[in-house]
Amino acid sequence: MQKVLRYTLLMSLLLTTALPEIASAHFGLILPSDDIISQGESRTLHLQVKFIHPLEQHYMEMTKPSAFAVVHRGVSYDLLETLQPQKGKSSDQAADFTYWVTDFAIKRPGDYTFHVEPTPYWEPAENLFIVHYTKVCVQAFGLEEGWDEPVGLETEIVPLTRPYGLWTNNLFSGLVLLKGEPVAFAEIEIEYLNESSGNPSIVTAPADPYVTQVIKADGHGVFHYAMPRAGWWGFSALNEADWTLKHDGVDKAVEIGAVYWVRTRDMK
C-alpha cells in the first residue's frame, strides 16, 4: 500500500514539473530586423536565431546550428560561420541562454529565404530529440520571386500565401513537406512571438490551450490560419523522423519540425 502511495506521489510530482513544459511548444526562430527592404532603407539585416517558447518568451540553450544559409534567386549562400553567440533570457528566467546573431548585407532585389538546421536538442521532458528546420523570407526592392519555392530541407513549410506584406487577420496558407512530399493531416502548432517589435502589450494566455494554437493540414498537407494580432507568427509542423539518435547509449526518437515565420501589421 505504502509502495503505491509513494509511487502516486512520485508520479504527481513528475507530472507537475513536466506539465508547464508540455503547455508551451518549442519553436525554432529566425527573426530578421525587417521583412521588406525598400529603396532608401537600411540594407543591413540583423538576424537572431533562437530556440524559444514564443508566447511565454522562454529561451532554451541553443548550441551552434548544423547549417545556416540563405537562398536568393535559386542560389544558396552558406552563412553558418557568420553566426555569433549571444546571451538572453525572459524576465522570469534565472539564467542566460545562448542564441545566435548575424548581420547580412542585402545587395540585390529578390526574395531571401533564410533557413537554419539546429543541432538536435535533447528534451528530457518529452524523452526525445528536437530538430526544427526553420525558415523566414525577406523581400528586397520589389522583386517578389522565390518565396513559393522549397529550399530542399528534410521537412519544410512552403508558403501558399506570399509570406510578407501581410495584414493582421490575413489568412496564412502553407504546404507541409517531408522529404519533398506533402504530409496529409500534418499537425501544425502556431504561436505568437511576444517579443515582436511593435507589440503594444505582452499577451498572456487565459488558459493553456491559448498558448499554442493547434491545427491540422488537410489530406494534401495544406493548412490555413488567420493571424489575429500584429507581429511575428510561427508555424511549426511536427513529424517524427525515420531515424533515431543516441542519448546515453540508447536510441531515442527525433521530432523534426518544419517552422516558418511571418509578420503581420495592422491596417491603419
Binding site: Q39, G40, K107, R108, P109, G142, L143, E144, E145
Partner: protein, 119 residues
C-alpha cells in the same frame, strides 16, 4: 440630306464609336497600373548596372531610362533591353537619379548616392 452630309454623319459616328472603344480600352487596361514597375541599380567598378522588373520578375523591356544629377540636369538617356537591363559608365560623381519611363503610368525612380559610386 445630301450624300455629302450622309458621309459626314457616318464619319462622325465612326469617330464616336472609336473614341468610345478607346475609352473602354483605357478603362480595361487600368488594372495594369497595379503591376508596379521596379528599378534597382548597383555599381561595379566604373559601371552602373540598372535592372527593371515587375514584382513577379518579368522584365520591363524597352523602358526609357534617363539619368539626372543632383541639379536635375539630364546626363544621359537610353532604353532597357529585352531583359529589362541597362548599364552606363559613371557620367559624373554626384548623387544620381535614375528615371524609368515604361508605358502609361509605369514610371519609377531610383537614387544612387555619390558614396556608392566610389572614387
Amino acid at each position: 440630306m445630301t450624300a455629302e452630309d450622309r458621309r459626314q454623319e457616318t464619319g462622325d459616328r465612326i469617330i464616336t464609336a472609336l473614341l468610345f472603344g478607346l475609352a473602354i480600352l483605357l478603362l480595361w487596361s487600368a488594372p495594369c497600373f497595379a503591376h508596379k514597375v521596379n528599378l534597382f541599380a548597383y555599381v561595379e567598378g566604373e559601371t552602373v548596372y540598372v535592372e527593371s522588373y515587375f514584382p513577379d520578375g518579368r522584365a520591363v523591356a524597352n523602358g526609357k531610362i534617363k539619368i539626372f544629377d543632383a541639379d536635375k540636369t539630364l546626363l544621359l538617356e537610353g532604353h532597357t533591353d529585352s531583359e529589362g537591363l541597362f548599364h552606363f559608365s559613371i557620367p559624373k560623381y554626384d548623387n544620381l537619379t535614375i528615371v524609368l519611363d515604361a508605358s502609361m503610368g509605369h514610371r519609377t525612380t531610383y537614387q544612387i548616392n555619390r558614396q556608392e559610386l566610389g572614387e
